[in-house]
């Protein structure tokens, strides 16, 4: 085997051409990989962007304080009927606000200051408290612990998400002395970082605000000199600044360009350092209904609305779809009509969902006069929408049952109907069920048709029947996403996470069913 001859496997020209072809081959493979990578990246990006947004709504800030439910406030006319108590939101609100306001004796009592202070908590936030008292009138005159959410502006500020704020530290060498006009002067503070940040931020319609806090006291920078910095006291006393190290905060947006004022910031920071404002899990997102105030809004009504809608959809689409599939697969004669039905089903599966909404709006609402915004109508429309999906899946499941089962049943004298219902159906059922669940998952995420039948209405009551006004999770997402305030963004993302979690659960059930009943004939 010496001197192997030069063959065409190694000829110069062939190798050169081959290298080129190989390079093209690799490139092509890379295109495929890149396409797959892009698709997966999009998926991950989408999910993580939403999860990251939603993380901002996992907790929120509440005011937790003890107040005495004085009868003069709660039932000023001496009328303590439940209706009157519930109606007297103002009384409860005043109690809570005054309790908080009493902590700032230096704030003055002018109307603008009071109004400013009132914006820390929205009026409607005390409604649950009012309802609780209305249910238990014995609470009147007692001291109760109340927990009410702070307004969305304060919440966003304390979460440092809007307006953006940068914390800084002040060196221990700073000397604190009272300044003129109730202010405070810091001598020899190390404020280089603050100076640098302020320079970097520049001035757009005003200067960023700089705060220092210690315990319950908050002061705002009024003049930054080389040796000393003078501060204006917004909450607490100068005495509070002694002892513990100072903490600083730069709010990057000038006061004129944000919805939360410097005073409100000071109060919020002071209340937080005293533990009155605290961060708690945002359970009200699941236990409350919709509201115009983000911090008071929850998705309960939409969740119940979605469940009621799904109930109607499931009760209509699943049996109908399965029966239709049984007819088409087991009994249908091969004729024009059957063919027409088949073509119809395939086409319906690809009709845009909004067209089903139009059908619901004219036929169900118009012709039949069914109630607007009701889960009944929504459920029926979605049932028609997913019917093709259920039918197609159920037919596949029936087709997977080998004909030998049918022949076996027929051979022992069963009628066709008996063969199908006693022998084929039980075997095909898991497959049908997975198709049905997938169809339901599609219905759960569907929005457009529900908009057209009016399920986009603002619903503050949890619906109790399928003819009540209701909304659904995806519609709630849509309406929250259309709101302007920043605070809705994390809330919307959180509802999306709830919706996706429901969908994931449904899909996991499908996978488990498939695993369990996977059968090879």
């Amino acid at each position: 085997m010496n001197n192997p001859p030069e063959t065409s496997l190694q000829s110069e020209k062939a190798l050169k051409r081959l290298r080129r072809r190989r390079a093209a081959d690799t490139r092509f493979r890379m295109y495929g990989l890149a396409a797959l990578g892009f698709a997966l990246f999009s998926l991950v990006f989408l999910i993580s962007a939403i999860a990251w947004k939603a993380s901002g709504a996992v907790t929120y800030h509440v005011v937790k304080t003890d107040i005495v439910l004085t009868p003069e406030r709660i039932a000023p006319d001496g009328n303590a009927s439940p209706e009157e108590i519930t109606r007297n939101i103002e009384g409860f609100y005043t109690l809570v606000r005054d309790d908080l306001f009493a902590r700032f004796p230096n704030a003055g009592d002018s109307l603008p200051v009071r109004q400013d202070f009132s914006a820390l908590v929205d009026r409607l936030a005390v409604l649950p408290l009012a309802r609780r008292v209305a249910r238990h009138p014995s609470l009147i005159g007692q001291s109760v612990t109340v927990q009410v959410p702070v307004s969305d502006d304060v919440d966003l500020f304390l979460k440092r998400s809007s307006p953006r704020s940068i914390p800084f530290r002040i060196g221990a060498g700073a000397q604190i002395s009272p300044g003129q006009g109730g202010g405070m002067v810091l001598t020899q503070p190390d404020l280089d970082s603050v100076r640098a940040t302020l320079t970097a931020l520049g001035e757009h319609d005003g200067v960023p605000s700089v705060f220092v806090t210690s315990q319950g006291a908050v002061a705002r920078l009024s003049d930054l000199g080389d040796e000393a910095a003078s501060f204006e006291l917004l909450a607490g006393d100068v005495a509070d600044f002694g002892g513990t190290p100072l903490k600083g905060l730069i709010v990057t947006v000038p006061e004129s360009r944000r919805t939360i004022s410097d005073l409100q910031i000071a109060w919020a920071l002071a209340l937080r350092s005293e533990g009155v404002i605290r961060r708690v899990p945002h359970t009200s997102l699941l236990t409350r209904t919709d509201s115009t105030y983000p911090e008071l809004a929850g998705s309960l009504a939409a969740i119940v609305g979605s469940l009621l809608t799904m109930l109607v959809t499931g009760m209509v689409a699943i049996p109908m779809g399965i029966f239709a599939a049984i007819f088409l697969e087991e009994f249908a004669p091969k004729n024009r009509l059957t063919q027409l039905i088949e073509v119809n089903i395939n086409n319906l599966a690809a009709v845009p969902s909004i067209v089903f909404g139009l059908l619901g709006a004219t036929l169900l609402l118009g012709t039949f006069g069914l109630p607007r915004s009701a889960p009944l109508v929504g459920g029926l429309v979605l049932a028609l929408l997913i019917l093709p999906v259920v039918i197609i899946a159920a037919r596949a499941a029936l087709r997977a049952v080998p004909p030998s089962i049918r022949s076996g049943a027929l051979a022992v004298g069963a009628s066709r109907m008996q063969a199908v219902f006693h022998h084929v159906l039980p075997l095909a059922f898991p497959g049908m069920l997975t198709g049905a669940i997938l169809g339901m998952a599609r219905a759960l995420g569907e929005t457009a048709p529900l908009l057209l039948i009016g399920m986009v209405a603002f619903v503050a009551e949890v619906p109790s029947s399928t003819t009540d006004e209701a909304t659904a999770l995806p519609v709630l997402i849509y309406s929250w996403a259309s709101n302007a305030e920043r605070a809705w963004e994390p809330m919307t993302a959180a509802v999306i996470v709830i919706l996706l979690a429901l969908l994931v659960i449904m899909n996991v059930i499908v996978v488990m069913l498939r695993r369990k009943f996977e059968r090879r004939w």
Binding site: P5, L9, R17
Partner: protein, 276 residues
């Protein structure tokens, strides 16, 4: 072993009427201890087999005996199957084609293959033949390509039947014609070896007879390895026969010898129809 094999790159152009006895002297392909595994399961066991030029070597044996799998080693078609692994050495002109340095793409241009079922591309007859020369860059211009197409179709005995409808799809031909088209397509790349995997199994007897004639004709120019389940066919077209059983090469030799006086008991049982 003497492998100063002849370096005739294009046997199609030379070697007309080569002497059979002389051709048998040099193995064109020489397999040493070839084993094939599918996902860890061994399908072919240590097969050593020389294949001679200008002759037809038939691989026979009961179905599932590994003869097709072995055939697919000769142009490394097993590379395209997930989980398939080939060990051992296969020398072609003194070079181990099973080594990773050898590019299967170039190897396959030298070792053509014809499959069990005729599988013309969904293209015109002309493009079917022209496909190989085009991708391998064997031609410079259209005229040259036309010449190759005509020559290949002539060699495959199909020219007279299709010369007026070269633009029609290859799938419009009858089964036997399709298989000859596939043979012509293989020839067009000017291979040295042609592998045939039961090329007649899906054809009727008349078409089979035509293909067998064609094989006999092609033998003058190429080295042919054919897998067949028909012993009559092996006896008719081949000069040498190898008998496979359960992945093992049981016996090989001149076709006459194998069919008249097999050395192995199993070969005899198979040939006389006691199993298989």
């Amino acid at each position: 072993m003497d492998t100063t094999a002849q370096t005739d790159h294009d046997p199609a152009l030379t070697g007309e009427g080569a002497d059979k006895a002389q051709a048998l002297v040099y193995p064109r392909i020489d397999c040493k201890d070839v084993s094939v595994f599918y996902s860890g399961k061994q399908a072919v066991f240590d097969v050593s087999l020389p294949v001679y030029d200008r002759s037809v070597t038939a691989l026979i044996g009961p179905s599932g005996c590994g003869k097709s799998t072995f055939l697919r080693c000769l142009n490394r078609m097993n590379d395209t199957i997930d989980g398939a692994k080939v060990t051992g050495e296969i020398f072609m002109d003194g070079e181990n084609i099973n080594s990773p340095e050898v590019d299967p793409v170039l190897l396959r241009s030298r070792v053509g293959m014809v499959f069990q079922k005729p599988n013309p591309f969904p293209k015109s007859i002309y493009d079917n033949i022209a496909y190989g020369p085009r991708i391998h860059g064997l031609v410079e211009d259209r005229q040259e390509l036309d010449a190759i197409v005509e020559k290949s179709l002539r060699r495959a005995g199909l020219w007279q039947e299709v010369k007026d409808r070269l633009a029609q799809p290859g799938t419009s031909l009858s089964g036997g014609q399709q298989q000859r088209l596939c043979i012509a397509r293989a020839i067009a790349v000017r291979p040295e070896v042609i592998l045939m995997d039961e090329p007649c199994s899906s054809l009727d007897p008349i078409a089979t007879a035509r293909i067998e004639e064609l094989i006999d004709e092609l033998r003058k120019r190429y080295c042919i390895v054919i897998v067949t389940h028909s012993m009559q066919q092996a006896a008719r077209v081949s000069q040498r026969t190898a008998f496979f059983h359960l992945g093992h090469l049981v016996e090989m030799g001149d076709t006459d010898q194998i069919f008249t006086s097999p050395r192995e008991r199993r070969t005899e049982d198979y040939i006389t129809g006691r199993f298989g």
